[in-house]
Amino acid sequence: MSTHHSTQSPTATAVATTPDPPADPAATPSPRLTPRRRLAELLAGDLRALPVVAGLTVLVLIFSLQSPFFLSSRNLSNLLVQAVVTGIIALGLVFVLLLGEIDLSVAAISGVCSVLMAKLMAEAGMSSVLAVVVAVVLGAVIGAFTGSWATRFLVPTFVVTLGLGLILNGVQLQLLPRTGRYNLLGTGIEDIAGSYVTGAASWLLVVLAVVVVAGLKLTHHQRKASHGIDSSVVKNVVLPVAVTAVAGVLVVSVLDANAGIPTPVVIFGVLLAITSYILTETRFGLSLYAVGGNAEAALRSGIKVNRVKIAAFALAGGLAALAGIIAASRLLGVSVSSGGGIGGGALLLNAIAAAVIGGVSLFGGRGRASSALLGALIIATVGNGLNLLGVSTDVQLLVTGALLVLAVTVDRSVERLSGSVGR
């Protein structure tokens, strides 16, 4: 780069000298949308989550009619905690799936990192806080390694992470002691899953959530208004704030009737909020969508595609490690089966299914942070509800699998009708 820099501002002064004649309707005919297509576009856009939320509601209705215990605050608290581990891994996967990539090593990362954490405490006498930090950082480093390898050697991430997952399974076995298990009782790690935020503190969290949402929505609204862009206060500020407040009050009153908000649920909530901010508000988030939508276009527009990929995999790895630690805390120890066992097992499949059921496209470019929440809730609800009804694992698998196929089918149909695929 050298010599000349023209001063540029993003306005069209280049053509500013010509007067503005009336718009030429022949050149850009405004589309006449059929009601069916309009609905499809709404479902593909603002109302994307509607079918999933409807599905979740139906599930909850069915189970609450079948088992009186289902809607008890104790069971709902349990259900949420069950959703957290899958949900956090799915949240990390959202970053990767948005790029049109996949990470099949996330479950193995969660396993190996939690085992390493336990080993560091048990054998190196490391403090629990430091061990947790080391484990999460290691997860991120493993993810970054995946991203670098895939971009450096142009190997599909599907293959890299498949192999890496097996390697990490092997490492996990090597790290474990002869007994095949490290006990975490009395290390402080068990407090993560075993503690609750209750009373005033839990309500403070609700207030905090409302304030953050209100702040974000208000600044958006004000900026739009100051740039002369139409923006409805009711739709863009009041509605989201009201939804947050109502949801917050509902969740906290239910959970406080039991023991309070389980700490893992608080952690998941915070991670969801941060991820949501990253994806919807920041340049990095937009880059993920751009790369997933058209990697070549992103590259030509100057986006550092490789760096974006490495960062996405690092985030997925770090979140997977954190999920592994929470799982270890719930089970009071780590073992061969941490991280879903060899190959990732149900943990890996459930995490991918959660993201996809929640509306993340496997082809990249589409999905939200809330997808991970909704998908994990659906999977946890099916598991929890069928368990209460005494239905065995085989049927749970049948139902979860069928829901996955159904969700993707609905999703694709919406997309086809709205015209955003099949071009």
């Binding site: 000349h4 540029q8 993003p10």
Partner: protein, 268 residues
């Protein structure tokens, strides 16, 4: 065959020297000489048509000017001084914008996001470079209005739009940052005749405002001869001929493209 390459650095229609100039550019892919010793100049205020058969090297030439491809040999001069472009952003910083043959739009993003792609207006880094959506939207609206493209939705994903609308968004993106040179790779390929005429007017408008414009097109008779000032013909990676658009017929241009000698003449 005769060409007018010696005259490249001479005055354009406004009397100024070339704004963008290529000297002896070559580029090979494996064994293929996509470009061999190409000279080309674009002056402020003129529309240069770049024509040639499929595979003649037109897109490759444009990519060297937009920083996507590094030439193997030769030099690129911008406003009289030599420049090295190490990527698409380097060209954009100089004021060279490109509208690609495949439009390079992200179908899942809306018009505003596509317009600002890679150069988003953002807040401070400690807030994660938060995108200034409202400001972007109002500037996008401004540019589209100036191009008389008010009817384009700013919030629908561009994947759901018509070919003409997508083409227009790609053009709007190219002028968003007040460029000095705009390169178009087949802007009319997928368009109806009326929409192509519209693009022709738009291109002329840019040149009238003092920009240097280069247009690749296969539509010799309807578009190139009508909408350009000068026509450069490429064949097998080389400049085969050059014409003044006013002095030439479509037949003569096509002849030069396919290698017939009949009617090949010099521009100046």
């Amino acid at each position: 065959m005769t060409t007018a390459q010696a005259d490249h650095a001479s005055a354009g229609p406004t009397g100024a020297g070339p704004i963008l100039e290529l000297r002896g550019i070559s580029k090979t892919f494996g064994g293929v000489h996509a470009l061999a010793d190409v000279d080309l100049a674009i002056h402020p205020g003129e529309v240069v048509g770049l024509v040639g058969d499929n595979g003649a090297g037109k897109s490759t030439l444009v990519k060297t000017m937009s920083g996507i491809l590094r030439p193997d040999g030769g030099e690129i001069r911008f406003k009289g001084s030599r420049v090295e472009m190490d990527g698409p952003n380097a060209a954009k910083k100089l004021g060279i914008q490109t509208v690609y043959q495949d439009l390079a739009l992200c179908d899942n993003l809306d018009a505003v996001q596509n317009l600002f792609l890679g150069r988003e207006l953002t807040g401070p880094r400690f807030l994660g470079s938060r995108i200034k959506r409202a400001e972007s939207e109002s500037r996008a609206r401004e540019v589209l209005r100036k191009l008389r493209l008010d009817s384009i939705s700013l919030t629908r994903p561009v994947g759901a739009m018509s070919g003409g609308q997508r083409q227009n968004i790609a053009i709007a993106r190219s002028i968003l940052w007040t460029p000095e040179v705009v390169l178009f790779d087949e802007p009319t390929a997928a368009l109806s005749h009326t929409a192509a005429e519209q693009v022709g007017k738009l291109i002329r408008q840019l040149a009238d405002d003092g920009l240097g414009v280069l247009v690749i097109s296969h539509d010799i008779h309807q578009f190139v001869v009508e909408a350009t000032d000068r026509i450069v013909v490429m064949r097998l990676g080389r400049v085969a001929a050059e014409f003044r658009s006013a002095d030439v017929t479509g037949e003569q241009v096509v002849n030069a493209m396919v290698g017939g000698n009949k009617g090949v003449n010099s521009a100046r």
